[in-house]
Amino acid sequence: MSDLQLPHINYAALAPMLILFGAACAGILIEAFVPRERRYPVQLGLSLAGVVAAGVAVITQAGTRTITAGGAIAVDGPTVFLQGAILALGLVALLFVGERSLEAGGPFVAQAALIAGSEPDRRQVVRPGATEVYPLMLFAIGGMELFVAANDLLTMFVALEVFSLPLYLMCALARRRRLLSQEAALKYFLLGSYSSGFFLFGIALIYGFAGRVDFAGIHAAALGSDRSNALLYGGLALLSIGLLFKAAAAPFHVWTPDVYQGAPTPVTGFMAACTKVAAFGALLRVLYVAFDRVSWDYRPVLGVVAILTMLVGAVFAVTQTDLKRLLAYSSIANAGYLLVGVLAMSKDGLSSSMFYLVAYGFTVLAAFGTLTLVRDADGEANHLSRWAGLGRRSPVFAAAFTFLLLAFAGIPLTSGFTSKFAVFAAALDDGQTWLVVAGVITSMVLAFPYLRVVVMMWLSEPAESTPTVSIPGVLTSTGLAIGVAATLVLGLVPAPLLDLSTKAAEFVR
C-alpha cells in the first residue's frame, strides 16, 4: 500500500470559511455554558465579529487565483467577490436578526418545541427569543461561502446542505404566526431535500459521463468522451434543477411565496439576498467552468426557464395583496433577470450578474427590513390594505420604502436601473435579444404592483386601523441606512463596484 499524499491546504484562502465555522462552533459552546440572560449580547457580538473577521480574510485574498484543498476549493476573482458580497449582505441581515427593540424578545420564538397556541406558548410571548439563531446564521453564511468556492460537485453538494439546513431551521422560528412559520419550514425542508436529491442524481450521471466530479475534469470530458452525451445532458439538467430551486426560478419556484411569507422577516431578507448570491454564484461556476463547452445546447432551455421565471414573477406579483408575498414574487422575477445575465455567457455577463446580485441584495434586505417596522398588536402588518395612508403617518419611512420599490421597478438613478441595464446590455452584446425583450416587458409589468403600493401609501386616506411604524432600534436603523444608501449609491455611481466586478470576472479552472 502506498503512502497517502496529503493535499496542500492554503489556509489563508480557506480562512473566511474556517473563521465562520469556528465562530459558529464557539456560538454552540456559548449556548451550553453562558447564562441565558447574557447570551444575547455575547452571541450577537461574536457573530458580528466573526462575519467582519471573515470579511477581512476575504479582502486579503483579493487577487488570489488558486485551487486548494486537493482541488476541492477554487479561490479566484468571482469567489472572492461573491464571498465578500455574501458577507456584506449577511452582516446587514445579522443586524435585522439581532434587533430586539421592535418587539419584546426579538423576532424569534423562545422555545420552538412548545405547541403553537397552547398555554405555555402564550406564556412565552414575552420571553427573549432563542439565541441559537446566531450560530445557525454563521453556519448558513459559512456554507454559502463554501458553495460559491466549491470546485467539484461533491463539495458543492455538501455546501448546499450545510447552508440549507440552518435555513430550514430558522424558517420555523418565527415568534408570531407560528403555525404559518412551521408550515413554511416543513415545505421548504421537503421540497429542498427533494431538490437536493435531484442534484445528487445529477452528480451521479455526470460522474458516469466524465468519471470525475471536479469542474476541470468535466470540462475536459465534455470535449471528447466515449460515454453517451445523454449522461452529460441528463446530469446537467438534474444539477440545474437543484440549483434553480435554490435560486427560485420557475418552475421550481413554488416554495418561494409560502416560505418567504411564513419565515421570520429578517430570515426572509437573508434568504432573498444571500441565498440568491450563493445559488447564482454556484450556477455561474457550474455553467461557466464545467459546462461552457455545451453552452449552445443548454442556453435555449435555460433561456426558456428565464423567460418563464420573469413572466411568472411579474404576472403573479400583480395579484398579490400581501407585501411579503409580493416581494417573494418580485424575487422570483429578479431570478429571471439574473438568469438573463448568466446566459450572456461572457465576461460581461459574469460581471454584470455579480453586480446585480450585490445591488439587488442590498435593496431587498432593506425592503424586508422596513417590513419589520410596520406593526400592530399582532406583529407585522403585511397586508397591502393595512398600508393605506402610511405616507401621511410617517413620511420618512414611506419615502424610504418608496425609493426601494422604485429601485425594484428599475427606475433610473437607483441601483435597480443600473443593474438591470448591466445584465441586459451583456445579454444583448451576446445576441440574446429575445431574453432582453422579455426582460424589459416583464419589468414594466412588474412596475405596477410596486406603484400600487406607492399609491396606496401616499394617496389613500389613513384608516383607523392603519398600523404604526415602530421606531427602529440602532441595529435596524443601521441596516436600513446601509441598504438604502447602497441602493442610491449604486444607482448614481455604479462605476467603482462595476469595475471591481469586471476585474474579478475570471474563473480559475
Binding site: 460581471s351 454584470s352 453586480f355 422604485l406 427606475i411 433610473p412 438613478l413 436601473f417 443600473t418 441595464f421 448591466a422 441586459f424 446590455a425 444583448l428 452584446d429 432582453v436 425583450v437 424589459v440 416587458i441 414594466m444 412596475a447 406603484l451 399609491v455 401616499w458 394617496l459 455611481v493 455604479p494 462605476a495 462595476l498 469595475d499 466586478s501 469586471t502
Partner: protein, 505 residues
Amino acid sequence: MSAGQVALVATLAVPAVGASVVAALPSRADRAARLVGTVAAAVTLVVSAALYRPGDGGWFSFGPNPPAIRPWHDLDVSWASGLDLRFHLGVDGISYPLVVLTALLTLLCCGYTLWHVPDPGRGRLLTALLLAIEVGILGTFLALDLVLFFVFFEVVLLPMYAVIAVWGGPDRRHAARKFVLYTLLGSVLLLVGVFTVVSAAGTGDIVALTAANPLSRGTQLAAFTLLALGLAVKAPLWPLHTWLPDAHTEAPTVGSVILAGVLLKMGTYGLIRVAVGVAPEGARWAAPVVGSLAVAAIIVGSLVCLAQRELKRLIAYSSVGHMGFVMLGIATLTATGLQAALIGNVAHGIITGLLFFLAGAVKDRAHTGLLDDLGGLRERAPGLAGVLGFAAIASLGLPGLAGFWGEAFAVVGSLRRGGPLWSTLAAIAALGGALTAAYFLRLLRRVSHGPASPVVAAMPAGLARPELASWGPLVLLALAVGLVPALVLGMAHDPVQALTEVVNR
C-alpha cells in the same frame, strides 16, 4: 473645468439641490420652503441663460467633415465605465431655447405656487416636485448620451405623476394612472430602441452617432421605429395622444403649464435630436407616415376642439393640433421644416403655458370650466379677458405673434419638400390652421363676449399682482418671438443645417 462646463453642471445641480432642500425643510416652514424653491428656480434660470454663446462655430465647424452636433459647451465624463455609460452634457442652438424656456416656466410656476397652493396644500412638496421635474427636463435637453437621455426622460415621470395624483382635479387618480400607463409604454419602446442603437453601434454618444452614422439600414429602420414610437407617446402624436387631455384637464394649473409648456417638448426634441440624428435613414423611410399622422393630429385636434365644452380640455386638445404642426415640420426633414418645428416648440411652450395659467385663473375664480357656464368675462374682468384674448390669438397663429412662425413654416416646409403627398399634407395642414382659428374664436366668443353668466358675475374682477408677474414674461416673450423670430431661428440655423446635411447625406 471651464466656466461653460460649470454652468452645465450647475443647471442641473441647482434645481436638484433646491428640490432636496425644499423637501427636507419642516412642514411648518412651508412658505419659507416655497421661497427657497423659487430662489433655486431663479438661479437656475440665470445659470441656464448664461449658457448662451453667441456666434458659434468655433474652430471645429471648419474642416472637411464637420460634426453635425457642435455643442457650445461640452462636458463628457465617464459615469460607469464598466457599462460604457457616459455623463455627456452639451448645449447648442437646438436645445438652448428649450432649456431657457424650461427654466423660465419652472420659475413662473414656483412663483405662482408661492402665491397660490392648490388643494390639498403642502406647497413645499409641490415646489420640490416641480424642481425635480425641472431637473429631468433640463437633463433630457442637455444629454448628449442616449442612455443619459433615457435616464433623465424617466426622471420626469414619477414627480409628474405625483403632481397630477395629489394636487389634481376630481378625477385625478384616473388621469394620473393613464398618464403613467402611456408614458411607461413609451419608455419601454424608447428603452428597447436605445438598447438596439447602443448594442449595434457600441456607443451611446449622440454626437458620435450623428456624425458617423454607423448603423446599418435594417437597424436604422428598427431603431427609428422604436425611438419614434416611444417619443411620439410623449409628444404626443395622434393616435397615441389620449392620455394628454385627461392629464392636462385634471392636473393643477402649474402641472398643466409644465406638462404643456415643456414636458411635451421632450418628445419632439428627442425626435429631432435622437431619432432623426441617430437613424436618419430610418427617418427618411418613416417620414411619410409621421407626416400623415401629424396632419391627422392637426385635423382631429381641431375638430375635437370645436366640439369641446370644457376650457382646460379645449386647450389640451389644441396642444394635440399644435404638436401636430411641430411633428409635420420634423417629418419634412428639410431645414425649413426643422426650423419650424423648433420655433413651434418654443412658441407652443410660451403660449400654451400662458393659456393654462389663464384657464387656471378662470377656474379658480368661477369654480367651473364649462364653456356653457362662462360668458361675459370681458365685462366682469376686462384684464383677464384681454390677456386670454391675446393668448388665444397668439395660439391660433396670427402673424406677428409667436404661434405664426411654427405653423406657417411647417406648411411651407412641407410644400418645399414637393411631391403629391407632401403638397396634399401641406394643404390639409393649412386647412387645420383655419380650423384652429375657428375654435379659438369660438372660445373667445363663448367666454369673453355676451352677457355675463351668473358664475362670471359673481367672480372677483381684479388681477392679483403675482398673476401679472407670472403672465407678464410670457406675454412679452410671445410678442418678442413673434416679432423677431431670429431670436430662436438665428441660433438654431447652423445646427439645423448640419442636421439636414446628415439626413440627406
